[in-house]
């Protein structure tokens, strides 16, 4: 059961909290900035995602949606 994670990029504030809690260490900060000027988070190797939703639970800005199936 692989997970799939989507980010509402425009809402991301680049806080890196999701990065710090992903057990798979697959979240990274993108080099480009969103219109607010933050580097948004993104998943690097989606296939490794377990859909554990740790990232989403941690995100203060409800940026992340996690699916599994």
């Amino acid at each position: 059961m692989a997970g799939h994670v989507t980010f509402w990029e425009e809402r991301c504030k680049g806080c890196e909290l999701c990065v710090s809690v992903c057990p798979k260490h697959i979240i990274v900060m993108r080099a480009a900035t969103n219109t607010k000027g933050y580097h948004p988070a993104a998943v690097e190797r989606m296939d490794e995602c377990t859909g554990c939703a740790s990232c989403a639970r941690m995100c203060p800005d409800s940026v992340i949606t996690v699916e599994r199936g």
């Binding site: 504030k13 607010k36 000027g37 933050y38």
Partner: protein, 182 residues
């Protein structure tokens, strides 16, 4: 002689400090000065702006509504303040991160790649000093020396090493203008 300046950018770009240096230096040169920050609820990373008045006359209203110069360190600041500039006014644009140009024809814009220069000097946090150097060079509203002397007072003890770096930033900023003028 009256300069009405608006300085604007992201929080963290040293906007407020740049404004204060202008005001402090102006005062030391015997000008009337006023520094006015815009203030809002604390949120890190928002926009920051302030205005500075330098005048050989006593300053009357502290409001800068029609600046003679704007110093804009990011794109939203350019978009917001360019329209307010007086006709014939000067815009100082941080061209390192603002990819667009000023749109008005009745003003003069100076594009200073201050972040690039600062990075060349090894410290992105002195981009504001680069810009300040450029500003002074163009407007000649202050003696560059006054600002340099202030630096010596500002950075003492362990930080004394920063004096030279900041001076260099000022000079590079000024030089960038000379280059542009060529």
């Amino acid at each position: 002689m009256t300069h009405e300046i608006i300085l604007s950018g992201f929080g963290g770009q040293g906007i407020m400090a740049m404004g204060k240096m202008l005001a402090e230096a102006g005062m030391q040169e015997g000008l009337s000065v006023n520094w006015l920050p815009s203030y809002g609820p604390e949120v890190r990373g928002g926009t920051a702006n302030c205005s500075v008045l330098l005048s050989s006359e006593p300053i009357i209203s502290p409001l800068v509504l029609e600046p003679t110069e704007i110093i804009v360190m990011n794109k939203p600041s350019l978009l917001r303040f360019e329209p307010q500039l007086v006709s014939g006014g000067h815009a100082f644009v941080n061209s390192s991160i603002i990819e667009i140009q000023a749109s008005r024809r009745d003003i003069t814009a100076f594009y200073v790649p201050c972040l690039d220069i600062a990075q060349e000097l090894g410290n992105p946090r002195i981009a504001n000093m680069v810009m300040l150097g450029a500003y002074i060079e163009v407007t000649q509203c202050l003696h560059a020396k006054t600002v340099e002397q202030m630096l010596a007072h500002l950075f003492t003890g362990a930080k004394a090493g920063l004096v030279a770096l900041n001076k260099e930033a000022l000079r590079r900023g000024a030089a960038s203008i000379l280059k542009a003028a060529c």
